[in-house]
Symmetry: C2
Subunit: 706 residues, 2 copies
């Protein structure tokens, strides 16, 4: 799809409706009726009608007199003829098509074949095609409503792209009621040709779109999505809700759309890296969308709460503490200013309780001081109704002070009808109003999140001097040995990528073991090396802290355990390694898994129970930048341990961050690695040491990319 190709799609002058009809209850009729608000020309096409709803009707699109050219064709014909109709549209030189017709890949084998034909026709003619199985498109600035829905939203600056038509149907009526305005609304349907990434790219340059809102079920090409969204979200916030987040949800989605979405870990990482704000429920989608459309991002996280109600003020403070925001401190000059203007009974603290007998003047002067304060990045005005002022007048004060200072302000005018009337006043200033203080705080958090995204500098992943050929040779052992899996014997792949491994060697006799241990000079770790024994610890295949005198016996014991576990197992030997001091070191895991949508996914976490039971892990789509790798080490819950909690010396975080980037490079260089586990990667103040490795390989892909 070319860069400007949707301008004709969502800003056409002349539209043909193929399948136009006046039959009651038909999609074709609903479309025509909805299009009556459109500023441009609408032309019905139907081989069986001469007139439809008073308009001249043409047998085919080819029969429509030109010029002017038709910019957009809406297709609402039976599935059996839809592909032919689209071919005629393409042949006629029309560039934009919305296929409402259902009965494609969402149904059965015949439908999937039909969709392949449709895509082929679109490719042949270079069509920008939305659908099939779309409920249509809307664009409020020209009154365009090319859908068969019963509701049409007010004009506004949110643009919505949704894989689910039902989602659009569900939210539009609610949007009308809550005066949430939209610019464009696109129902993607089966995404045979265009998808959300195309519209996100397009709407970045749209002056009438302030915020892009997405309902996502799956993302076909995760890497492209990240690339496009990183560029767009520097200027235009993108808010997404992804259905099928959970196991139950993903199963339901698979049953509903037939698609297998990638893993939640991948989406979580992908959205974060793309700079996309994620909403977990429908209410948040529009809370975030609205506040981002009306308010500037937060420069920092320091929030002030101004209230005439102590109790609700405390609830707001609780919400700030739950969030990633913080309560601002007032500096001495601000405090003394506030102290002067407030009655004696009021404390100058944050939340700033200007107490129940506050009138408009007190609200205004308190707000003025707080907004002027350098330590305040954003404000929640929380107001309980009293007989001393009207909400609408307070709303005017809030709005104009917001305008004067340009800092983000959100309101909680708590009440019924009067609060709603005041909310209309606030809306004119772009200030959202909420009943619940928690939502006000969470809307400010979205502004802070977007502030961080806007200020991001996306770097290029670092390059390292690595030995790709050595790594490839090790991976190709799988082809030679006709296996998918490599274990400790593949540790050389880490050496090839410059990742430190413990001093040590693989031996195949008790005498050699003793010699290896002598070279290490100190207690050693001894472990079986066998591609057939995956969980070595479980069969006693690892012995830690073996003194010199016990090395030969331990060698024999390990071989015996392997034999007892599986007499057929190939045992390549026993690895003898230096023991890392456990008091100074932490066992971590760096892993990867290949995701069907996002590609290589890099994982970091602490070993053992931390990953398995606490699921205390960080994921990123590879390749990662230095910043992203560092964030991974910071965002796991156990991170304080690395920074030197509990009286320990801090670990060598720089080495850890570099290792994450080197592994990221490895899995990016070799997409054929479907899973990899460096476990444990021992991290200590002296550096890192990759003690063991396991990986699985897609041998076919490996050979293909030779």
């Amino acid at each position: 799809m070319t860069a400007n190709s949707q301008s004709g799609l969502l800003d056409p002058d002349r539209i043909a409706v193929i399948g136009a009809t006046d039959r009651d209850g038909s999609v074709g009729r609903a479309l025509l009726e909805n299009l009556s608000t459109f500023e441009g020309e609408v032309i019905p096409v139907n081989p069986n009608r001469q007139q439809v709803l008073g308009m001249d009707c043409y047998r085919t699109i080819g029969a429509v007199p030109e010029p002017p050219a038709i910019d957009l064709a809406i297709v609402a014909v039976p599935a059996t003829v839809a592909v032919d109709v689209v071919r005629q549209i393409g042949a006629q030189g029309v560039e934009h098509v919305v296929v409402i017709t259902a009965g494609f890949s969402e149904t059965d084998q015949a439908g999937r074949k039909r969709e392949q034909e449709l895509t082929a026709v679109a490719d042949e003619y270079g069509l920008t095609l939305v659908g099939p199985n779309s409920v249509g498109v809307m664009s409020t600035s020209t009154g365009l409503n090319a859908t068969f829905l019963e509701v049409y939203p007010p004009e506004g600056s949110l643009s919505l792209v949704s894989q689910s038509g039902a989602f659009i149907a569900a939210v539009m009526g609610w949007a009308v009621q809550h005066d949430i305005g939209f610019n464009h609304v696109v129902s993607l349907g089966n995404e045979a040709v265009v998808d959300e990434t195309d519209f996100i790219a397009q709407w970045d340059d749209d002056p009438q779109t302030d915020v892009i809102v997405c309902y996502v079920e799956d993302i076909d090409d995760g890497q492209q999505f990240i690339e496009v969204a990183q560029a767009v979200t520097k200027n235009t916030p993108v808010v997404a809700i992804k259905s099928g987040r959970t196991e139950a949800g993903a199963e339901a989605a698979a049953s509903h759309t037939g698609s297998i979405a990638g893993s939640e870990d991948a989406y979580q990482a992908g959205f974060e890296q793309a700079g996309v704000l994620r909403a977990l429920n429908i209410q948040d989608v529009f809370t975030f969308g609205q506040v981002l459309a009306g308010q500037p991002p937060l420069d920092d996280t320091r929030i002030a709460i101004v209230t005439n109600g102590g109790g609700p003020g405390v609830l707001a403070a609780d919400s700030v503490d739950d969030s990633q925001l913080a309560l601002a401190d007032f500096e001495a000059d601000v405090s003394s200013e506030l102290d002067d203007l407030l009655p004696d009974a009021a404390d100058v603290t944050n939340p700033l309780d200007i107490i129940g007998d506050a009138d408009l003047d007190r609200f205004e002067s308190a707000l003025d001081s707080v907004l002027a304060a350098e330590t305040v990045d954003g404000v929640v005005v929380l107001s309980v109704p009293t007989a001393l002022y009207e909400f609408e007048e307070l709303a005017e004060i809030i709005g104009s002070l917001h305008q004067e200072y340009g800092k983000p302000v959100v309101a909680c005018l708590m009440g019924g009808e009067p609060a709603d009337r005041a909310a209309d006043v606030l809306t004119a200033y772009g200030v959202p109003n909420y009943f619940d203080p928690e939502r006000a705080v969470s809307s400010l958090e979205a502004l802070a999140d977007y502030g961080e995204i806007r200020d991001r500098e996306y770097e290029t992943p670092m390059s390292f001097d690595v030995d790709r050929e050595a790594a490839r040779e090790i991976l190709e052992e799988t082809v030679e040995r006709d296996i998918d899996f490599l274990g400790t014997e593949a540790i050389g792949i880490l050496d090839a990528y410059g990742i430190p491994t413990p001093a040590g060697e693989i031996v195949d006799g008790p005498g050699d073991a003793e010699t290896a241990a002598e070279r290490i000079n100190g207690p050693v770790v001894m472990k079986l090396v066998s591609p057939d024994i995956i969980h070595k610890s479980d069969i006693g295949g690892v012995e830690i802290g073996v003194p010199a005198a016990g090395v030969a016996d331990t060698y024999r014991m390990l071989r015996e355990r392997a034999r007892q576990y599986d007499p057929e197992a190939t045992v390549l030997g026993v690895r003898v390694e230096a023991l890392v001091d456990p008091d100074e070191s932490t066992e971590t895991i760096i892993g990867s898994k290949r995701d069907s949508q996002f590609g290589q996914l890099l994982m970091f976490g602490f070993g053992g129970i931390f990953v398995q039971i606490f699921q205390d892990t960080a994921f990123r789509v590879a390749p990662v930048t230095e910043r992203e790798a560092r964030r991974m080490t910071e965002e796991i819950q156990a991170a304080p341990m690395l920074r030197g909690a509990r009286g320990r010396r801090p670990a060598d975080l720089d080495s850890l961050v570099e290792t994450l980037q080197r592994i990221s490079l490895l899995i990016s260089d070799f997409p054929a690695i479907t899973e990899l586990d460096v476990n444990p990667l021992v991290v200590s103040p002296a550096g890192v040491s990759a003690v063991d490795v396991r990986l699985t390989v897609d041998r076919k892909q490996l050979s293909d990319t030779r």
Copy 2:
């Protein structure tokens, strides 16, 4: 307060308003005007008026002609005369008083003194006194509005008691707008006499109250609250929101009310044990309140979702997975029934997507089958607007099927005005309607939580045969030695309470250490015993796995480390203990701290990083029952480790649960123990072993309770 004393308070026949006036903008006038809807008699009292708003006004309450007697006096006079006025009220024999007047303990020292006098007068006359600093009380069934607020809620079955008057002011207008009905509303103010516990107790027997809703800032007597609420919540759900949950919130609350609330851990545990449903934001308070008022509790957690919109259905499934609910499985007969009635394109799965062309008949038959299914405990009906049916008709179907089956049903009719009209239909059936599927699911979760509470059987904490005198003797060492803290030397207190400790003894010479180690016969643990060295590990005061040959040297080394750390430290010796096999054992912690509101608080968690960084802990107010102790071991995140995760044998959970109960008994027997840490308590398949103990004692209290 006696059991029925509020009936006069909230159901009076004759009310006197002291401080009645017709002065514009005064509280006295607002009260009188609001009382105009009251069914009974209202009598103004004011020494300076003969008539107020057309009513005869009396100089004092004593001047009001009787009979009939006055049931309730509302006081809105200046703070300086308020105590005298209340004394006159008491002398007149009026039993119920609401003091609106502010200027008591919420202000300054003089105010605190004034409040003490008020309490004394109330005690003298046995008054049921609400306030001072209350916004008043409401009771809709008699039109009673003894507040100065501008809004009055519709009649309903929620009764609200709130410490914050601003909270009441904030939510009432919103309640009017959203048609949320109340029976009683009480603003507690400073709680000089009555508090939330009194009203919770009272409303249990009130046939017009289906759900009790509380806004809580602090709870004076946590143990009494738990006792009362446990009894009430068997019949009447109690929903509470507690402000000052977080550190920032608690600071704000302290500044706002001057009260120091107990710890969040204590409230969390206290509410759980009391059977009180906790809401974390204002919206949830009323979401939970409404659904509990309209719907029966869930018997189990199996939910079905019936929808005509695939995408929103998946979002609902995500929310179920996030919650403690589960998606119901349909048994074969139900599946085949559904299969018969749905079109071919629909899959019989849960969420049950009856697809976009569903009409009312299909909704009705699908809902009928699902509600009849034995494996379904509750249903979410999720409906996207289409041209094929009207929401209001669907609402009738949902309502009557709910009535027929009596199972909990909540609705998500997603849309604007038409959904609101349908919601009115649903309300008549007690079925709540939500726009966001997440809220619908969370309301069902509240019904499940209440189902669990309703079915609880509160046991008595178990009694154990312990040696209280031996324990007391050890604790009294603090008095003798003039210290607050005891360490390893107090381990006998665990022996006295029947808690296993490792075989071992305290020795004070290298030779004795060797003898002790010989008796143990195997590697030992050696640790310094000193009341002056609290964190022994940090100074190398604990050596683990010392072989027989190293015992004497280790003894000398430990003494030397103690000397280097602090030459003045009292060292009582070195404890030599058997080493527990680390592969089979888990280090846990049982601790306690004394909370200012709830008393002794028992804590359980895993040792080290788990408590300190993950804060993976479980708390209960002591004494705990066997059920509560078991839940503590189940609810920490690391619990799977105890049950035998990662190929280990399961730990001896029964011994752990018994140990929790024994420690609970210990701290209940000795409230003078202000903090206690059994750390580590090693748990293995063979049982538990309390390896070390630390405790602090309130010596004065210990002596007083001798």
